[in-house]
């Protein structure tokens, strides 16, 4: 199974119909699939923080939102996750390309890559870590159900080796 196709199928199975995004090279194919899907509203954003704001508004308007992002964007979003998502209990699926993991060629990605799981823990954001396309296809719809039930973001961390 193709990794991008598996994530896309998982997103569709979850019923996600509103996606905000900031590209990572590993998300390229998935972004094209999202953009082409007529059932999904896709909003490219200028900064991930803004994307979380947009997704919260869309959720109140009845949408099921997800964010496609690189883990570096978590750093751009700490305050909105704490002082909007956490206190108002907004759900969202965070589909995260986790750079700075095994095989990373760019040294600038390493510190944020290493900090990511700890930051998620500090923000009390649960995450899953699918290793294969099959796992992603199974875990993504389950994660959305948990996110919605818990009124909280849920992270899907996708390492370099996943793609």
């Amino acid at each position: 199974m193709d990794s991008s196709q598996a994530v896309f199928d998982g997103i569709k199975k979850a019923g996600i119909d509103f996606v905000v995004s900031m590209p990572c090279v590993n998300l390229g194919k998935l972004l094209e699939m999202i953009e082409c899907d007529p059932e999904i509203i896709h909003v490219p954003v200028t900064r991930e923080e803004e994307g979380f704001g947009i997704a919260a508004g869309a959720y109140m308007g009845g949408k099921k939102p997800a964010m496609l992002m690189q883990n570096s964007g978590l750093g751009n979003s700490v305050n909105v996750l704490a002082s909007l998502y956490s206190i108002y209990k907004f759900p969202i699926l965070m589909i995260i390309s986790h750079r700075g993991t095994k095989g990373e060629p760019i040294c600038a990605q390493i510190p944020m890559g290493e900090a990511t799981p700890g930051l998620m823990d500090t923000l009390k954001i649960a995450y899953v870590h699918p290793k294969t396309p099959e796992e992603a296809l199974k875990l993504i719809p389950e994660s959305w159900i948990l996110a919605e039930l818990g009124g909280a973001p849920l992270g899907i961390l996708l390492d370099i080796s996943f793609w």
Binding site: G57, M60, G61, I87
Partner: protein, 192 residues
């Protein structure tokens, strides 16, 4: 005029519109002059008002037959400056039902009125240069804000309202964040 007066005058001209209100004194003042389940009061996430408004407007716009429902955002100059990229996204997404009102007191009012760059950088010109085609300006000296034309204009609309610095002496909002969200979502559903 004072910010609280602008909030009162504009909100009193709203009926079905949904309102997203900026963090700090703007939300406290709006709650004080007029509370409604159709108001979403921000308690944190400075800068996110216009983004929340955009997401909501796009969601509502996507349902057939519901295009009429408008979203009004009460934002601040400091908050707009913190999330300037949002203006670019809004202008490009062209949400027809979004009205972005910037209550510009040329300062960070809620934290003690420290100056922002809005006294020299014209936020309406910024909005126009990123692609807003419909913009309005109400000077500080204006005694009455008539919102009729703004509400009839196809969005996205940028409304620049200059207001006096200073906050009204109003208490914090006695609502839990979850309650603000829940009653707001209920109000959205009830009106359909």
């Amino acid at each position: 005029m004072e910010r609280i007066k602008a909030l009162k005058q504009i909100s009193n001209q709203l009926e079905k519109e949904l309102v997203i209100c900026n963090i700090g004194f703007p939300s406290r003042e709006l709650y004080h002059v007029k509370d409604s389940p159709q108001h979403f009061y921000m308690l944190g996430s400075m800068g996110m008002a216009s983004s929340i408004g955009l997401g909501l407007a796009m969601a509502l716009e996507s349902y057939e037959g519901k295009e009429g429902r408008k979203v009004v955002v009460f934002d601040g100059d400091g908050s707009v400056l913190m999330n300037l990229g949002s203006l670019v996204t809004i202008a490009n997404q062209k949400a027809q039902n979004l009205i972005l009102v910037v209550l510009d007191n040329e300062c960070y009012g809620s934290t003690g009125s420290q100056c922002t760059y809005a006294s020299t950088t014209d936020l309406k010109k910024v909005a126009e240069s990123v692609g807003f085609q419909k913009t309005f300006f109400f000077p500080e000296s204006k005694k009455n804000i008539d919102f009729t034309t703004v509400l009839e204009t196809e969005g996205p609309v940028f409304v620049h309202v200059k207001v006096k610095a200073g906050n009204a002496d109003v208490p914090i909002i006695p609502l839990e964040p979850e309650d603000i969200k829940e009653r707001f979502m209920e109000a959205i559903n009830l009106t359909y």
